[in-house]
């Protein structure tokens, strides 16, 4: 049966299953998880092309026949809104000779025409026609279509796709993280978020999981971002200090959050979460009180979520990130400013603050990215082989909702991420969905 099998990096032999239990322990993970191409290839099949993955937002295709190009894993995707308003995720590939059907980044069209031989498709992926059709025995003879992501669902306009034809619904996948998206939407006086301010695209020479882990790592901000906190006198650093009452929560399903609400409740000042006061944004606050009545105070005090939704959606209060992998050692961070429908006073500030903070030149994210890239170079080194995720394991507790929580600086989120990751990667390829 098995002839000589080359041993890969002292781990499982090529062709034989990777033993994830030997790589992922409760408080440490093996460095090869970040740089082994075989593990990356398996992640594509078991995570990126199986679970629900964030792709874009409905507000990017507001009108019938709008479309915008996206990526899902390594796939070139056209997110379309058909004439009836339904959103589709099409694979940008002609059913004839695999040419790319769409070369524009965005636009409005009910159909796409492949430039190679002129085949045309409706924006649902349906084949409309092909030139010189006698060569195929006439019109409508071909049972072909563009590929599409079989399941597309959205939540508050956040569009997710799953390549698994069946499995858990989006709402099941989101689990407790859905309430965090609710919190974000509730900051709009109309209860709606838009992500229509364009996307920054930040090329990052690091494994995507380093980013997912960092997003709710409350241990690093004081160190990595000390330079900007010091210069601007930002109070954000204190939220992630040893004295902070904020909480890191494992939301299950690989999702986690830094819950900053305990800190904001302490001050009980509306708009403090946004670094301002209600007198600076009076129209917004008035609209919110109109809409939410007695609940408005709490909403305005508690502010926006800081949540990492497995595997690739990070909502960082007023910014949204879409992380997409490129290879074991590279990924792209797409980031934009949250726009709250009906809140023009806030929206301009959110764009300005986002430009300052995120993207390739951001005064926060460029430094995070430098860290990711140095981590990636670090995991190439031969020892100590493992990355440690034990911080706070001895002081974890369970909150009233049954979730594991730790202090603001504990690695609770990372442990939740790895436990879910291991579960997904240990499934064999035939299982669906989750």
């Amino acid at each position: 049966m098995t002839a000589t099998v080359p041993v890969r990096a002292g781990l499982a032999g090529a062709g034989s299953p990777i033993d994830y239990a030997s790589l992922i322990e409760p408080t440490r993970v093996h460095g090869s998880l970040y740089n082994d191409p075989a593990i990356f290839a398996e992640e594509l099949e078991k995570i990126w092309y199986k679970t629900w993955v964030f792709v874009g937002h409905a507000s990017e295709v507001p009108q019938p026949n709008d479309y915008v190009r996206k990526t899902l894993g390594l796939q070139d995707i056209i997110m379309t809104r058909d004439r009836d308003g339904e959103i589709h995720l099409l694979l940008n590939r002609c059913a004839h000779r695999a040419n790319l059907v769409c070369d524009a980044a965005s636009g409005n069209s009910g159909s796409f025409r492949c430039p190679y031989h002129g085949w045309t498709y409706r924006n649902t992926g349906e084949l409309l026609g092909y030139p010189y059709n006698k060569g195929y025995g006439g019109k409508g003879k071909l049972d072909l279509a563009m590929g599409s992501v079989p399941r597309v669902e959205s939540y508050h306009g956040f569009v997710f796709g799953s390549f698994a034809p069946d499995g858990p619904s989006l709402i099941e996948h989101l689990g407790a993280a859905a309430a965090e998206i609710d919190r974000l939407a509730r900051l709009s006086p109309e209860g709606e978020v838009a992500l229509d301010a364009g996307w920054l695209q930040h090329k990052t020479k690091a494994n995507w999981k380093l980013l997912a882990e960092n997003e709710t790592d409350g241990y690093h901000p004081q160190f990595v971002h000390g330079s900007i906190f010091g210069v601007t006198g930002s109070p954000i650093g204190a939220l992630y200090s040893d004295a902070s009452t904020a909480v890191t929560r494992n939301l299950g399903g690989g999702h986690s959050e830094n819950d900053l609400r305990p800190e904001f409740r302490k001050f009980a000042e509306p708009m403090r979460w946004f670094g301002t006061t209600e007198s600076r944004v009076p129209d917004y606050v008035a609209k919110m009180r109109d809409k939410y009545g007695a609940d408005a105070e709490q909403i305005l005090i508690e502010g926006a979520p800081h949540v990492m939704i497995f595997p690739n959606l990070f909502i960082a209060e007023i910014q949204v990130f879409n992380i997409q992998p490129v290879s074991a050692g590279e990924c792209v961070q797409h980031s934009t400013a949250v726009q709250l429908v009906g809140a023009p006073e806030l929206n301009k500030r959110m764009i300005s603050q986002s430009i300052g903070s995120v993207g390739p030149a951001g005064m926060l994210l460029a430094d995070d990215t430098e860290m990711y890239e140095r981590n990636q170079r670090g995991v190439e080194l031969r020892s100590p082989e493992w990355l440690d995720v034990r911080r706070g394991v001895e002081r974890e507790t369970t909150d009233e909702g049954g979730f594991t929580i730790g202090t603001a600086t504990d690695e609770v989120g990372m442990r939740g991420f790895w436990s879910h990751y291991r579960e997904l990667m240990e499934r064999d390829g035939t299982e669906s969905g989750r």
Binding site: A105, A197, G198, W199, L200, Q201, H202, K203, T204, K205, V224, G226, S227, I228, G230, V231, T232, V332, S335, T336, A337, N347, K348, I351, S352, S354, I355, G356, G359, P360, A361, M363, A366, D367, T369, E370, M371, E373, R374, R377
Partner: protein
């Protein structure tokens, strides 16, 4: 003879003096001489690197950089801490500025008449992460100031503006 203060037409500007200013600005940026670079800017400065959409209202769409004078100052204060890790250590840099053209004049919001200059740029950046080549089109607004100029506007449209780009930590 006209003095720079009374310049009203682009034709009356000596392109060699314009180029000398652009090369000086480029050298300060290449050598990470933050103080000298910052001193070139006017108080109403705009330093803009658009992202995907290059001709949009930067107040309603995200950009890679859209700094007013205050934010230029914040950006430089951050890097001066020595703990702006995206530039600590700083990138090694050299850039070429070419195809310099005087495009006309334009009125600033404060009523000054600035000279609009276009140029191409190619920056070679070396970092531990790897080397990057950054190409772009720059539009400058230069404000006559005695025998010299000050910089009131610099817009850098990257050739790669519609693609993912690496960390842009240095002054482009």
């Amino acid at each position: 003879m006209t003095t720079p203060h009374t310049l009203t037409t682009a034709e009356s500007v000596d392109i060699r003096r314009v180029e000398a200013f652009l090369y000086r600005e480029a050298r300060h940026a290449d050598e990470n001489d933050y103080d000298a670079w910052e001193a070139l800017w006017t108080d109403d400065a705009i330093y803009w690197v658009p992202a995907c959409d290059t001709d949009v209202d930067p107040l309603t769409r995200v950009s890679i950089i859209y700094d007013n004078r205050n934010r230029i100052s914040t950006r430089l204060q951050q890097v001066r801490t020595g703990k702006r890790y995206a530039q600590a250590p700083p990138s090694n840099l050299r850039r070429l500025i070419s195809n310099v053209e005087i495009l006309g004049t334009c009125e600033s919001s404060g009523g000054d008449t600035d000279i609009e200059v276009g140029a191409n740029v190619l920056v070679f950046e070396s970092r531990a992460r790897g080397n990057e080549l950054w190409g772009g089109r720059i539009t400058y607004h230069l404000r006559p100031d005695g025998d010299d100029f000050r910089l009131s506007y610099k817009k850098v449209v990257l050739v790669d503006h519609d693609k993912a780009v690496a960390t842009l930590g240095f002054l482009i």
